[in-house]
């Protein structure tokens, strides 16, 4: 069973599927990607990403702000995609 995360969206509780997590050695943070399966007008599925402190726990997520973090997440997604396709 996959993990779920419950968010408040537009005043309603929405259950999201956790898609991936990873750890960054350089800053010691954990990163999470999840989706509520909503889509953009052009049909793309939304993936929400955030970071959290492994000690504080996932109860408190932090926004991805730096370009380096975005670049890293992008590369992780690329790798996951490559691995999934090669399996």
């Amino acid at each position: 069973m996959d993990e779920k995360i419950v968010i408040m969206k537009n005043g309603k509780e929405v259950e999201c599927d956790v898609l991936f997590t990873f750890h960054c050695e350089d800053n010691g943070k954990e990163y999470i990607g999840y989706t509520d399966h909503s889509t953009t007008p052009d049909g793309r599925k939304n993936i929400y990403t955030a970071s959290y402190d492994p000690i504080l726990g996932t109860g408190s997520l932090e926004k991805i702000e730096t370009e380096e973090e975005k670049e890293m997440i992008q590369e992780v997604l690329m790798q996951i995609n490559d691995e999934a396709r090669s399996d």
Binding site: D17, F22, N46, L61, A84
Partner: protein, 835 residues
């Protein structure tokens, strides 16, 4: 008499007579013309006068007359002739004398004396002329070069001003040639042999060796002279490169070559431990989905704690960047000591800017060079330590020897041996101390190089976030007396080293070190050790940096003090609320307030003193836990036996007791929840909430104590009557609790006091606070957690003591000096007492 004869009378060769001599001859003639003593003589004089008179009139003739030629060459020639004449005269006379001697026989003394007197004058005159000749030659030699003296026949030439023979009116004494000034001499006189004028070859020289190297000499059909051939690259590498020529740029080039380092390599964040949901992987593999990555945080309602468990592992591979950096790391780690030395000394300041090396390389080099520098520091520190041991062990022995020598009863032979031993111990101490001081300087230079290093040292010392025990160190107004005393001892030590005075050097060194040690004071504090002295004795070089003080880290990573308070709160609040509160606290904390720090440290000392209270309270709390468990067992046992044992009265009492206990517990829990809600709403501060918790806990405990006190006699009788029930533990617990009714309440009070201090200390890093969050969050264990945290504070204090013993916060040198100072003080006190 003519002029020529008149000159001869004066002893002057008419050919070389000067104008002055001619005039004298004329005056002689005039004078002698009036004499009537000797007709023949008078006739000679008269003739000479006529000649002279007629000669003087002819100015032009005189001018052309070589007699009046005053050129240096002429003068030299004149003197040479005179010398020649003198020599010829001398030889002639000598020859005559020799012949006479051969005829008459050897000289007798009288003859010899006459001979000597006769020729001495001639000899002296010849010598004078020789000297004059040499002087003239030195002055006017080579006058025939192009830059030589002008023609002597020129009227009003520049030489007239330096012509020593130019006679002015009233000039009496013949002047020797004026010494030509150095400037004038060098201007005019150039040695033809040594230095061609203006570098041009002598015009008279043709086809000599100069032509062969003169690049400007043009010959017919001569092709253009070629410059030296450019050495081919191959040749250059073959014999130019040498290991000793390997410099900074070569080292950096070797590090970077072939890697293709990117500008952002240092910024690359690397992921690891990637876990992927299986559904997501399936989606991806299908290739049917496109995604939009969104980076924002919605409001979180519920999040699983152990998120990672269910997801599949994956390993992140950024092959290219990782490979680059890994290869670079290997190269940096393999740098030789020589290379590191070059980098340490040369790769700084403007050189770093000049090279514009990729940041990742600079980061790695920084780390590596730091390690290299520390290695050198450690080596020097070990050597310094060894010197200290040498000095202080010698010192102890010297003091023992002095004591023995004070004994008047020892014989001469023994005394000699002791003195000899003393001298052996003292010998070379000045050199040892000199070497020690130099090594201390070099070690500090390794740690703090250049102006930037100097500034960083000042900043670190000012912020006190530098080295052990100094973070909360006490500050003092300047003590001039102490500084002057230090300066005096330093001066004496340097003097003693310079003059090789071993005894004085040892004395000054030891006094200087003990003075530092005596003014260093380290006290226990809530943070471990804290410097409270006017000086901080550190004989071994230590790195100054901004990382947290290890004492502070030791305290808070053990979740002490602050953990005691925050653990209580943590279990009551939602994650988000808690995060905000913690962040606010970290922003508002002010750790630099001296009063606060002093207060904290006083409280810390109180905390240390209350360690027994904490241990007792913890023990009692443990007993209480035992009691609760035993109570459960008891009830189960009774239920099993269907409560058939015991009277109805007991039953009733027991039931009432349990009901009471349960109700009472529920009330307690409600009280806690109420306080928690108020805190969450913000109507209570953390300190107030903690105070409220303490009150609830104490009230609860008080009630419990009353129950235990009233039930204990009943339980004792019951236990004796029901030996098949293991109630011994329960009885012991109840007994302990009733005998120590305030133990847990005292512990709660102490915890709250320290927790209030903790509120003032919440400016600490979140990392330190985070450890609290790992504690269990349910109510019952929260209090136990708080008590545990407080106990941990005690453990931390013990840990820091152990670390000190292991040399983590001091070292054997400081301890050695401190022990010596202490023993010295004790000895002096004893001496004072016995005096």
């Amino acid at each position: 008499m003519n002029l020529e004869n008149a000159l001869r009378v004066l002893g002057v060769d008419p050919k070389y007579a000067t104008r002055g001599e001619v005039k004298r001859a004329k005056r002689l003639l005039e004078r002698d013309m009036t004499r009537g003593d000797n007709e023949e003589y008078q006739k000679m004089i008269n003739d000479a006068y006529e000649v002279v008179s007629s000669s003087i009139k002819k100015e032009d003739e005189r001018r052309d007359n070589p007699i009046f030629d005053t050129s240096p060459a002429f003068q030299i020639k004149n003197i040479e002739e005179q010398i020649k004449i003198a020599n010829e005269n001398f030889m002639e006379i000598f020859k005559n004398e020799l012949n006479e001697a051969l005829e008459k026989g050897p000289f007798n003394e009288k003859d010899y004396e006459a001979f000597t007197n006769k020729y001495q004058t001639l000899k002296e005159e010849a010598n004078k002329k020789l000297i004059a000749l040499n002087q003239l030659k030195e002055t006017y030699e080579n006058q025939d070069t192009i830059l030589g003296l002008p023609d002597h026949s020129l009227k009003d030439s520049i030489l007239d001003s330096v012509n020593p023979y130019k006679q002015e009116k009233n000039q009496t004494e013949k002047q020797l040639p004026a010494v030509v000034s150095e400037k004038t001499y060098e201007d005019f006189m150039i040695d033809k042999k040594d230095e061609p004028v203006l570098g041009l070859p002598d015009h008279s020289l043709k086809d000599n060796i100069l032509d062969s190297v003169n690049p400007y000499k043009q010959k017919r059909n001569q092709t253009k002279k070629q410059l030296p051939a450019v050495v081919s690259e191959k040749n250059y590498q073959d014999f130019m490169f040498n290991e000793e020529d390997r410099g900074l740029k070569q080292i950096l080039s070797d590090l970077k070559t072939g890697l293709g380092l990117k500008k952002n390599d240092h910024k690359k964040l690397r992921a690891s431990n990637i876990k992927v949901a299986s559904n997501f992987k399936q989606e991806l593999s299908s290739g049917n989905y496109l995604y939009n990555v969104v980076h924002f945080i919605p409001s979180i309602i519920k999040v699983p704690i152990q998120l990672a468990k269910k997801l599949k592992n994956s390993i992140f591979k950024d092959k290219e960047a990782n490979d680059r950096i890994e290869k670079l790391k290997v190269r940096v780690n393999n740098l030789s000591d020589r290379d590191l030395d070059v980098i340490y000394h040369e790769y700084r300041s403007s050189k770093v800017t000049e090279q514009m090396a990729p940041t990742v390389l600079n980061d790695l080099l920084n780390q590596k060079v730091r390690e290299y520098a520390m290695k050198n520091v450690e080596t020097l520190n070990e050597e310094v330590k060894s010197s200290y041991l040498n000095i202080f062990s010698s010192l102890r022995q010297l003091e023992s020897l002095d004591e023995m020598l004070e004994n008047k009863n020892i014989n001469t032979q023994m005394r000699k041996k002791l003195e000899s031993r003393k001298n052996t111990l003292l010998e070379g101490k000045a050199e040892v101390i000199k070497d020690l001081r130099e090594k201390q300087v070099r070690a500090n230079e390794w740690l703090s190089s250049g102006l930037h290093g100097f500034e960083e040292d000042m900043k670190a010392a000012e912020s006190k976030m530098s080295y052990v025990g100094k973070r909360f160190a006490k500050r003092y107004d300047d003590d001039e007396g102490l500084s002057q005393k230090e300066a005096q001892l330093e001066k004496e030590e340097k003097y003693a080293i310079r003059t090789g005075n071993d005894k004085m050097a040892l004395k000054s060194f030891v006094e200087s070190e003990t003075l530092l040690s005596e003014n260093t004071d380290i006290k226990n504090s809530i943070f471990g050790k804290r410097s409270t002295g006017k000086r901080y004795y550190s004989p071994l070089a230590k790195m100054l940096d901004y990382r947290p003080d290890p004492f502070v880290r030791d305290v808070y990573t053990s979740a002490a003090i602050v953990g005691a308070s925050l653990a209580t709160i943590n279990g009551m609040l939602t994650a988000k609320e808690k995060q905000n509160i913690l962040e606010n606290q970290s922003q508002t904390a002010n750790m630099h307030n001296e009063e606060v720090i002093n207060k904290v440290n006083e409280a810390g000392e109180n905390l240390q003193a209350q360690s027994d209270t904490f241990m007792k309270g913890i023990k009692e709390q443990s007993n209480q836990a035992v009691n609760d468990a035993a109570g459960t067992i008891e009830r189960a046992a009774l239920d099993k036996h269907n409560w058939n044992i015991g009277t109805n009265k007991y039953h009733t009492a027991d039931k009432m007791g349990h009901n009471y206990y349960n109700e009472f517990y529920q009330n307690t829990e409600n009280s806690f929840t109420e306080v928690m809600n108020k805190y969450q709403e913000g109507t209570l501060s953390q300190a107030d909430a903690l105070g409220a918790f303490k009150d609830i806990a104490n009230k609860t405990q008080e009630n419990l104590n009353q129950v235990y006190a009233s039930c204990r006699p009943i339980m004792e009788k019951y236990a004796h009557a029901h030996s098949h029930l293991d109630l011994e533990g329960t009885l012991e617990a109840m007994k302990s609790l009733t005998e120590n009714p305030t133990a847990i309440m005292d512990m709660n009070d102490a915890m709250i006091n320290t927790a209030n201090i903790g509120e003032e200390l919440t400016g600490l890093t979140l990392e330190q606070v985070n450890t609290i969050n790992s504690l269990p969050s349910d109510l019952g264990t929260t209090l136990l957690g708080a008590a545990t945290a407080a106990a941990l504070a005690i453990n931390v204090s013990n840990t820091t003591s152990n670390n000190e013993k292991q040399g983590k916060y001091g070292n054997e040198v400081t301890q050695m000096v401190a022990e010596y100072a202490s023993s010295k003080s004790q000895t002096e006190q004893q001496i004072a007492k016995t005096a």
